[in-house]
């Protein structure tokens, strides 16, 4: 039953989160916004198209795109979804997940470089730089979450969280949650670090890398982006809500509601802030590392 609900969540939640963000942003801007199920229509449209390839690309362009999707799929296997449940777990899967994400990024950047375009090279350089800087923060906050568990896996680390961990080490966990929230914004190229809507080469990071992806290739990139956003938010929701109601339906609803709340807060940040200067991003990220580090040590107690 839990597995079925998890599967249902995987199929619906990424689009649910994305559309919530879009709708809330539209509300702040005084617009009506696109229909709620628009991402599905877009994906169907993209997958019915043909591919246009650049003459300069090698086979890496396609392999890289497929591996980007594959890596986000592997992340889904290990992160806790409904009721702290994961599909698989093994000793050290936290590291495996983080490195799978890194592998996806590696190939995404390679695919971008493969076109020989200066825009995409610039995008790849920026993505590599900023994700490299968010790696330590990610690991520090994961260390805080995993804590003293023996198996170093999401399944056990998240299961060990309980209201009493919040009561005992509240400040540490608040810092970790804040750091993790900012990591979500950085890793998923949201405002204030990157703008998912702009196509201006001076400001954008992620969007610049998919300029030459067309049709199904672009669809794959969008899917892996959606999955990645969902995976991060799901982990955060389990940090924030560490308890269970012992009732699957209520747990499921609470979980979905927490996803909704996090999506709304992301949209709120996006609507209320301007992009920060590209040169200021590293400074900001180092502050996040410090946050996560202090949070980690406090949470160890």
């Amino acid at each position: 039953m839990v597995k079925i609900l998890s599967l249902f969540t995987i199929l619906t939640a990424p689009v649910f989160i994305f559309s919530t963000i879009v709708k809330v942003k539209a509300f702040f801007a005084g617009r009506k916004g696109v229909p709620f199920f628009q991402p599905y229509y877009d994906l169907i449209k993209l997958f019915r198209k043909n591919i246009i390839l650049s003459r300069k690309t090698s086979i890496i362009f396609i392999i890289g795109t497929l591996i980007t999707l594959l890596s986000s799929f592997f992340v889904l296997l290990f992160i806790p979804i409904v009721d702290k449940d994961t599909f698989f777990f093994f000793k050290g899967d936290v590291i495996f997940v983080a490195y799978m994400l890194a592998l996806g990024r590696f190939f995404m950047c390679l695919a971008a470089m493969d076109t020989g375009s200066s825009f995409e090279g610039m995008g790849a350089a920026r993505e590599a730089t900023f994700s490299m800087l968010s790696e330590p923060a990610l690991f520090l906050s994961l260390m805080g979450i995993i804590g003293k568990s023996e198996t170093i896996s999401f399944a056990e680390g998240i299961a060990n969280l309980s209201p009493s961990t919040w009561i005992n080490n509240g400040i540490g966990f608040i810092l970790i949650a804040v750091a993790f929230f900012i990591i979500i914004l950085v890793e998923n190229s949201r405002i204030p670090f990157d703008d998912p809507n702009t196509h201006l080469e001076l400001t954008m990071i992620h969007e610049m890398m998919v300029l030459d992806h067309s049709g199904p290739l672009l669809g794959i990139m969008e899917i892996s982006g959606l999955i990645k956003l969902f995976a991060f938010i799901s982990i955060l929701s389990h940090i924030i809500i560490p308890f269970s109601f012992e009732n699957l339906i209520i747990d499921f609803l609470v979980y979905y509601f927490s996803l909704f709340v996090i999506a709304v807060s992301i949209a709120f940040v996006e609507s209320s802030m301007a992009r920060i200067k590209l040169r200021k991003i590293p400074t900001f990220q180092i502050i996040v590392v410090v946050f996560a580090g202090i949070g980690m040590f406090l949470s160890l107690g």
Binding site: I51, K56, I62, K91, R126, M132, F139, M143
Partner: protein, 518 residues
């Protein structure tokens, strides 16, 4: 010593001679320290044989002196920062096959020496492990940051050797600290990670250097900025180089990931260790540090692969006349290490018995490695990864690639004809990162300022200096050079004078001998 002559194969170039000089000086300093270490051993044990394992008390002054001498002596050999100065230029200027041997085997002799000497001690204090661990973090981070800033392909790979030695040292330091903490899991995981990384580094780094040799031969330049678009011309080199790049960045599904995974689990084990004190702090910081190193290495190899193999060549004309082709022997040679990389990535289990034996030899702990490391799960998920990838490729190929696929130019923001100057170069890729680390990367910029209304042909050059070589070694050498001139007078070139020196030396020895007997 023999490597010195190998290194000088292309001795008609001035950089090669410089590199050779630097190498031979530092090798002698290294030998000097190792001899001193041997002498200290003699002082402690009274014998010139290697002491038995676990026979020297580490918590004494002599023990610490021996430890320092060993670390400096073998540290020079291994290329630990700041003792690494000979390494980048030597690797970069040797012929590529020699660089492969140097990086794959020779610097590992340093690691071997450190591990061998450490096994002589018992009662090792905690801070030794932490010191080695910190040296590891510093080497890994500084090495990879310098690597990213390089324009020269082989120099970049040389700095990556320093980075990997750093990762190996992190493993050794972790294992050593585990001995002091009496925590078997940390000991085993630290040493196993370090030893496996020694082996893995030998495979993927030799592959990278051999690949670099092919690339340099084909494109006629060592500068990455002038390369591009080689993927279609050297396909086997490209695939094997890519495999090695993924391995060295520590990414799954290849072997570099496995050894870093060992070290990560070891460091995470410290979290669950019951008493976390000030010394453990450094080891906990090892986790984000290793993550940062991994991210930087990945960025660096995106840069290498992206600019060397992809995009467009800056030297199209030269390449058109190039007749060099991948022979079967070349493909075979590049293929062997690539297969090893893939194999250890899928089935790390094959390294279980050798690692267990090696750990037993160092620490005399008899263990089953499968208790500490998830061999089965790794194999399962990596295989699953390959399987799903094959499936995805199959579907994608049959559904989309069979349909009409249009081929056109890269989108050039409205420009219809693009040339190689539109491609992103290695220098510009690295610029965002080198700027971040400008506090240790000193960039020297040479350019021709535009002064007239109609600018003439201009140039712009950047060069990253090694801060340790130019900031510490060269000034101190110059200082010595200036202030010990009087010693030089002794070496007058006069045979009579030399005979006098020998006579004096013999008389002194006789007096010393009489003093001893008396």
């Amino acid at each position: 010593m023999l490597l010195f002559f190998l290194l000088l194969t292309e001795h008609n170039q001035p950089e090669v001679l410089d590199a050779g000089k630097l190498y031979i000086i530092l090798t002698h300093i290294c030998t000097f320290f190792i001899f001193l270490a041997g002498a200290t051993c003699y002082k402690i044990t009274g014998s010139f044989d290697f002491p038995e394992a676990g026979s020297i008390n580490a918590a004494t002054a002599d023990g610490f002196v021996l430890f320092l001498l060993v670390m400096i002596g073998f540290g020079i050999k291994a290329g630990i920062i700041p003792l690494h100065v000979w390494l980048p230029s030597a690797h970069a200027n040797a012929p590529s096959n020699v660089s492969a041997i140097m990086s794959g085997l020779m610097i590992k002799m340093g690691v071997y020496g450190i591990i061998r000497f450490l096994s002589f001690f018992y009662n090792i204090p905690m801070y030794w492990g932490v010191l080695i661990f910190i040296a590891g973090i510093v080497s890994a981070l500084t090495g990879v940051i310098y690597a990213i800033a390089q324009h020269d392909l082989k120099k970049l790979l040389a700095y990556h050797s320093i980075e990997n030695i750093g990762i190996i040292l992190m493993g050794i330091g972790l294992g050593l600290a585990g001995i002091s903490m009496n925590n078997t899991a940390i000991v085993v995981l630290g040493f196993a990670g370090a030893l496996l990384h020694v082996f893995n580094h030998a495979t993927f780094k030799s592959l990278l250097f051999m690949g670099a040799g092919v690339i340099i031969k084909y494109s006629g330049t060592k500068k990455m900025d002038n390369m591009g678009g080689l993927a279609k011309k050297l396909p086997v080199t490209f695939y094997t180089f890519l495999i090695a790049s993924i391995s060295i960045s520590g990414l799954p599904p290849f072997n570099g990931f496995i050894s870093e995974f060992f070290i990560y689990i070891g460091m995470f084990n410290i979290l669950s260790y019951h008493e976390v004190d000030a010394l453990n702090f450094f080891q906990l910081m090892g986790i984000p540090a290793l993550a940062l190193v991994g991210g930087l290495a990945a960025a660096c190899f995106i840069k290498v692969n992206g600019t060397v193999f992809m995009g467009q060549s800056a030297n199209e004309k030269y390449l058109k006349e190039q007749t060099f082709q991948e022979t079967n022997l070349l493909k075979f040679t590049l293929g062997i290490p690539a297969v090893i990389c893939i194999l250890i990535g899928i089935i790390p289990f094959i390294m279980k018995i050798p690692l267990e034996n090696a750990i037993f030899a160092i620490t005399e702990i008899n263990i089953n490695l499968a208790d500490f490391f998830p061999f089965k799960e790794i194999t399962f998920f990596i295989l699953l990864f390959y399987l799903i990838f094959a499936l995805a490729w199959f579907i994608f190929h049959n559904v989309y690639m069979k349909k009409a696929t249009y081929v056109d130019e890269t989108w050039g923001c409205g420009y219809s004809v693009t040339n190689q100057k539109f491609s992103y170069t290695a220098t510009s890729f690295a610029a965002t990162i080198t700027e971040l680390f400008r506090f240790i990367l000193k960039m020297e910029i040479k350019k021709d300022n535009i002064t007239e209304i109609f600018p003439k042909k201009s140039y712009f050059m950047t060069h990253i200096e090694d801060l340790f070589l130019n900031g510490i070694y060269k000034p101190s050498m110059n200082f010595l050079d200036e202030h010990i001139d009087f010693i030089r007078k002794l070496q007058a070139g006069n045979i009579n004078a030399y005979i006098l020196y020998k006579l004096v030396a013999i008389i002194l020895f006789i007096i010393y001998g009489i003093y001893l007997i008396w």
